[in-house]
């Protein structure tokens, strides 16, 4: 660590402006802290409340029917967004991508063609979730999109899908979207679920009072789709999309029978998982969350992350905390509740207050109590089996499962060696869509056990235009922590180097 630590730009930097990031920002700002909130999207709300402010102001007939279709859970974010906007201590920076988070509180950002670093006394990662990657034959074809993508187009593009639409996969979002589409006059040709009745039966023993409401809601969705005559199947397997230049048909197996349907738009969803790109690159320890079949950062209940970096790099007044769906999938209510908990923990670290209140912690537990039921009712389906040799795993570099299996068999038996050899995970998405499958293939081929291995995350975790790098601002090179090159064997004798000079 440097002797002359630079003055921080804010007490707290929050990455992400969804329910958890907003709730934490408001809690911190109202307690007198200065907060910088960095978010990729143009307006506050995260994906769940995407474009809510504008949609609430839209008084047209179409606007009203969109709001009605999106339902009360969407409008529920209005209050928090309003409080967030009203806080003068919050320096909100929309359309800003984060490409590095360092353990000393330094955060690299990109906005348009401007790039720089800001420093916080504390950092809170509230960057949310992503949809589970689902490699199946044809998933790279134009005309295959995720359910979240289609919902975003509804909320922020006022576009609804048209033509022959098939929804396939599992999870509440798939059913919710099918219902929203139906309410907007769009009738899908099929809702094909990978979950089965036996999953629902097994889930029942996890049902808690809070889950009952969800259950009723879900049954209502199913009932309405049925009434509307939307064809639906459960136990769907072996999904494949076919077409020359875009999707023309989808095939799948149900009850041992292969079926094919003509299709223009295949909407897939296999549940959501924490986005681990930032925690992984920041050196936070990840753990495998069995019930959700995903990685999540290892954290204490108040969101404190566990560093994997050597103590000289991670010791210091700043610690990294993780909140919301980025910490544990729980939905908007759990995210808002945990955002408050994390904020109260940060306040204690900044010598204001006594840490999370019992009431705030209870609210998190209550909101998360429905998860075991949902996890059991909607187990991963599309991504359950490892893909066949011909299926693309790495969309960016167009590598198939067969390519990766062959390289693993020929001796590239750890994630970084595999990445270096094949470029899997080196494309623009930096492994977001392939890492989990590559790790599962590796574990399968090497018969290894334990937590799935990850690629080592290195900044920038998102591409930065060269022209923008030339204008890098805000980094005091002498004051920054050292960067490690420990994963580069050729540098074994010299395991740290100074950060880039001016």
């Amino acid at each position: 660590m440097s002797i002359n630590a630079p003055l921080p730009d804010a007490d707290v930097i929050i990455v992400g402006c969804g329910p958890s990031g907003m709730a934490a920002a408001v809690e911190l700002a109202e307690a007198g802290c200065s907060v910088i909130v960095l978010d990729m999207q143009p307006t506050p709300g995260g994906q769940i409340f995407r474009n809510l402010e504008a949609n609430l102001c839209d008084t047209s007939l179409a606007g009203q029917s969109l709001l009605a279709a999106l339902g009360p859970a969407y409008r529920a974010g209005a209050d928090l967004i309003q409080r967030f906007r009203a806080c003068s201590r919050i320096d909100y920076r929309p359309q800003t991508t984060v490409w590095e988070v360092r353990p000393d509180g330094t955060v690299g950002w990109l906005q348009g063609m401007n790039v720089g670093y800001v420093r916080g006394r504390q950092v809170l990662l509230a960057h949310g979730a992503m949809e589970r990657p689902v490699p199946f034959p044809g998933w790279t074809l134009p005309g295959v999109m995720t359910a979240g993508a289609v919902q975003t187009l509804l909320k922020a593009g006022h576009l609804k899908p048209s033509g022959r639409i098939v929804l396939a996969g599992t999870g509440p979002l798939l059913l919710l979207l099918a219902n929203q589409l139906h309410q907007l006059g769009v009738k899908p040709a099929l809702v094909g679920r990978t979950d089965r009745l036996s999953d629902s039966v097994r889930a029942m023993r996890h049902l808690r009072p809070g889950g009952l409401v969800l259950l009723v809601k879900g049954l209502g969705w199913l009932g309405r789709l049925k009434l509307a005559g939307v064809k639906s199947v459960t136990g769907l397997e072996n999904l494949a999309a076919d077409g020359a230049q875009s999707v023309e048909s989808v095939s799948f197996t149900v009850g041992g029978k292969r079926q094919t349907l003509p299709c223009d738009l295949l909407i897939v969803h296999d549940g959501i998982v924490p986005a681990i790109d930032i925690p992984n690159a920041a050196g936070l320890r990840l753990q495998w969350d069995g019930p959700n079949a995903s990685w999540r950062p290892a954290t204490t209940p108040d969101g404190l992350g566990a560093s994997t970096l050597p103590p000289e790099m991670s010791a210091g007044p700043c610690v990294l905390r993780v909140t919301g769906d980025a910490r544990k999938i729980g939905g908007a209510d759990a995210a808002m509740a945990h955002g408050r908990v994390a904020a109260q923990a940060i306040l204690a670290a900044l010598d204001h207050g006594a840490g999370p209140s019992a009431e705030a912690l209870r609210a998190v537990d209550k909101a998360l109590s429905v998860r075991p039921f949902l996890d059991a009712a909607f187990p991963p389906g599309l991504a359950q089996d490892l893909p066949d040799d011909d299926t693309i795993v790495c969309r960016c570099e167009e590598l198939t499962a067969g390519d990766l299996r062959a390289k693993i068999r020929s001796g590239f038996r750890n994630m970084d060696a595999l990445r270096g050899e094949t470029r899997c995970g080196m494309g623009p998405c930096q492994g977001r869509n392939c890492m989990v499958t590559a790790a599962r293939l590796l574990q399968d081929e090497t018969r290894a056990a334990g937590c799935l291995p990850t690629f080592r995350g290195r900044p920038p975790i998102r591409p930065i235009p060269l022209g923008a790098v030339a204008r890098l601002s805000g980094l005091a090179p002498r004051a920054t922590i050292r960067l490690t090159l420990e994963d580069k064997p050729e540098n074994a004798s010299e395991d740290t180097v100074d950060a880039p000079a001016e």
Partner: protein, 122 residues
């Protein structure tokens, strides 16, 4: 530009011959701006993303991959998958799903990897 023997399986065309129409408007476009996509004017709703605009226009792809020349369209719409890369105002590899439309914006679809140094739009 990145021509290899294996490509292109799918010929790049600067025309906007529509693909299958996958999306339609909830309501007629009011408050529209005009951008150019491969030199052709395309109308967009103010405040929406370039990716939404391309999907409304029904372009068959926004990029051809650098490896095999396969066509791609936006997949996740929230900035994770990087399938939506296009050239915007002369700078390649921008995420269309994170970029808001602006009147007069020049969007070009990408054929393989974009040239690293020279902007291709003056």
């Amino acid at each position: 530009m990145n021509e290899s023997l294996t490509r292109p399986a799918f010929a790049y065309s600067s025309g906007l011959q529509p693909g299958p129409k996958m999306f339609s408007d909830l309501a007629p476009l009011t408050d529209a701006v005009t951008l150019s996509v491969d030199g052709q004017p395309v109308r967009a709703r103010a405040g929406e993303t370039v990716a939404a605009c391309l999907l409304r226009a029904g372009v068959p792809y926004n990029r051809l991959t650098p490896v095999s020349g396969a066509p791609r369209l936006p997949y996740c719409m929230i900035g994770h998958c990087f399938e939506c890369l296009v050239e915007i105002d002369g700078i390649g590899n921008r995420q269309a799903c994170l970029t808001l439309v602006r009147d007069g914006m020049k969007v070009r679809r990408q054929d393989g990897a974009p040239p690293a140094l020279e902007p291709s739009v003056p």
